[in-house]
Symmetry: C2
């Protein structure tokens, strides 16, 4: 029997269709290999990319040469550009604005490694520290209302190059999903004077049937109304509305949790394609006319990472309704992922 | 230079990234062939499906035998079932309900034809009349708040069988995208005493740079803030909030418009995979406790069909933000589709 579940963070309903329940082995995986010699992201190939924005590199090395651990470069095909002046305009009854923003690529490893699951934890830590640095830097620009950090691994997750990398996009508007989360969280806080995410974390910690993994600072679980099979959310246990407030020490524990979750997904699901997105506070720009100002966000919101293995196809039903059908129950998914404790360091 | 555009129907922003602009020939297409002899949907293979719910068939033929034009059967793997009693319940702070609903398949042609673009207009007309019949029948059941009719053509659009078919899902809740459209339309009506869709149709008819095709009753255009390349919307020109009010005569003109749009997409984009969804009024269930009751919907809403060719991959960025990047401007797409006037009957 299937069940409808409401996502508490967005009030969106999801169908958990257990009759269609598939074992993880029923899902396809994909091998995604590319020649090192052609790869523009490998150490030694720095001349094949635009000049770097920043890099974590040895003191004696020069920009755009070998000797780096993580390298940030402008996207060669940016969807938004920071050079343009931000203009808002109308077109009849329609609203539009210039494509002002930023679009960067974080090359996550000097070697030709595709999956972050295969990194050392220390290397994952470097990457997550770079995310923080980039976000802090981009938020100095008051035109940018939101910085999205995300990662596509594998062709069916939208990656076009196999060398491990993530993307940073700075937007002049707060994206719609984030707005919806913020509004839902604010409504909860106003009713209860409690963060809705803290409430969910507390309930998950008690019930435990959706917990995937846990350490001193972070908890990983499959969301109650997961849209996708084996979707995993990672939250800081202590209330915190923005990623940039996370200390470098705590980011080491996040790196260890990311490695843990990615290893479970890789082993349990036979190297699936996946997306990761970082959901955090918008840039708080308080000025006249800004309708996206969230005065109570410090209390309302709670940043998190979402891991979405790409195992099912999204089709007309989902596009037409925003209504997702998930063939694997979150409890089954969590239980299956917990079986891989033995692979953990 | 790219541009951000706001969809007037949902207030969602979309990036129209013209720098990435691709010619239609850059998009992949897919051949999607299946042996007739294995196909459960072909005339003569009626014993391979569950018993039919209804069919358009010759007077002298019997149910579940040959002699039909369109056949409606229960989905063999339903995501929702009408047999179960609708129960709403809580689980700690979470909300859930039983998977009560209906899930049917409309087999659109007795012959082994995959693409509705290759049907005679008269056959398309039969299919759209069946949609109306099924919707009217399902809306008699007050448990069902929304009936979604959609179609997946091609593997990357989510179809698993090639024989032309569509799906009907009756849901116990109003889906989230539809709710959002209804709320946006209502806000517009309350401010202006005009339907927002009528306003958009009027503007598109004047400006004409996004028009794809037009007949006496229907207009097809690429939406201003299209999420996908070559997305096409078809609206009745006269205000009408629900599909079921469309006369059979007018459905003949709709069928002709559907054939027109599908033919353009097939020829211009080299037989792409696509989804079609029908967006129409929910079932108006007025009773105590129903928070989904839309008293002014008759004025607010305007039903329509959405055609979404599946040419690009949706990745982490879109899932994380609800923010779409569209590499083809709607004006270019419409202009390109208009070039195929010569293929039209």
């Amino acid at each position: 029997m299937s069940e409808l579940r409401k996502d508490p963070f967005t009030n969106r309903w999801v169908i958990i269709s257990q009759d269609r329940s598939a074992r993880p082995s029923d899902f396809g995986h994909e091998d995604f290999v590319q020649e090192h010699s052609y790869c523009p992201f490998c150490e030694g190939h720095e001349d094949r990319t635009p000049n770097e924005i920043t890099a974590v590199r040895s003191a004696d090395s020069k920009p755009n040469t070998p000797g780096w651990k993580v390298r940030v470069i402008p996207n060669k095909f940016p969807v938004l550009e920071s050079s343009s002046e931000l203009k808002r305009y109308g077109s009849g009854m329609y609203d539009a604005m210039t494509g002002t923003g930023a679009h960067e690529v974080v090359v996550e490893h000097p070697g030709h490694i595709a999956n972050m699951a295969d990194f050392e934890v220390a290397q994952v830590h470097e990457v997550f520290k770079v995310y923080k640095t980039r976000m802090l830097d981009l938020y100095k620009d008051q035109r940018f209302r939101f910085v999205l950090i995300f990662k596509n691994y594998g062709i069916s997750a939208g990656a076009s190059l196999s060398h491990a990398h993530s993307q940073v996009i700075a937007l002049p508007v707060v994206p719609w999903n984030i707005k919806l989360e913020l509004e839902t969280a604010r409504a909860h806080y106003q009713r209860k004077e409690r963060c809705i995410y803290c409430d969910v974390i507390k309930q998950e910690s008690l019930v435990r049937d959706r917990i995937v993994s846990e350490n001193d600072d972070f908890i990983a679980f499959t969301p109650f109304a997961s849209r996708f099979p084996f979707e995993v959310a990672v939250f800081p246990k202590k209330h915190s509305y923005r990623y940039t407030d996370c200390s470098d020490e705590s980011l080491a524990l996040l790196a260890s949790m990311v490695k843990d979750v990615l290893t479970r997904l890789k082993v349990a699901l036979n190297n699936p394609a996946y997306n990761i997105v970082l959901q955090t506070s918008p840039n708080i720009v308080s000025r006249p006319g800004n309708t996206d100002y969230w005065s109570s966000i410090e209390y309302d919101y709670h940043w998190h990472l979402l891991f979405m293995p790409r195992l099912t196809k999204v089709a007309g039903f989902e596009w037409g309704t925003g209504f997702y059908i998930n063939p694997t129950s979150p409890e089954e998914a969590a239980s299956f992922l917990r079986e891989y404790d033995k692979y953990m360091a």
